[in-house]
Assembly symmetry: C2
Homo-oligomer: 120 residues x 2
């Protein structure tokens, strides 16, 4: 069964904002065999609904929604479940699962600490 991943990030009016998330999607695509799509909460496309629609078209029957946020605040705790329920409602045969924000992964925090300690 094809599994897809949505990387769900905050948006910005500044187009430069998207770069690390695009880099992440590329890096994940090299490590994960299923389809990967980026989505933004607001201010820049695509929306979560558009990303889930795209994964459905690409054959995903199970979708992991990964919040690319360091912490869990209102966007991950409230906005995301609401948006995901809306988007998932259009695809009743697809399983859509919300994961914790990536900042709750100890390996991510350790990598950030290492990168800062290695800096000037």
């Amino acid at each position: 069964m094809t599994q897809g991943i949505v990387l769900f990030a905050h948006g910005s009016r500044d187009a430069q904002w998207a770069q690390p998330f695009e880099q992440l999607a590329l890096s994940l695509s090299r490590r994960f065999s299923g389809p990967v799509e980026l989505a933004f909460l607001d201010l820049m496309p695509p929306t979560l609904e558009q990303a889930i629609d795209a994964l459905a078209r690409r054959g995903a029957r199970s979708i992991r929604v990964v919040p690319v946020f360091l912490g869990k605040g209102g966007h991950v705790g409230e906005d995301l479940p609401r948006l995901a329920a809306q988007a998932a409602g259009k695809h009743p045969t697809i399983r859509v699962e919300l994961e914790p924000p990536i900042g709750e992964q100890p390996t991510v925090i350790e990598a950030i600490a290492r990168a800062i300690a290695a800096g000037r």
Copy 2:
């Protein structure tokens, strides 16, 4: 010369938001010999100015301000330089240097991609 680090993050009304940043400060303190302080852009204390004041009291003569943001948008590109200039103005003998957001570090992006790929 004592070097200090401010970890500068977005804030949230949700207290749970601070956890990964506190974890990061702890992890960095194990790897970095100078004083480390957290600061938030808004919605939760301390401010950048309070963190820089605290590092000055702790003897820092040079301060790295590290934006714990994945991308560079208005908060890192506009708000942070303004807040840093204000705070640094109170400490003319201390060198305050702004670094790029941690999401621009390739090792951080790779660690996030690995953590996601290793997930379910």
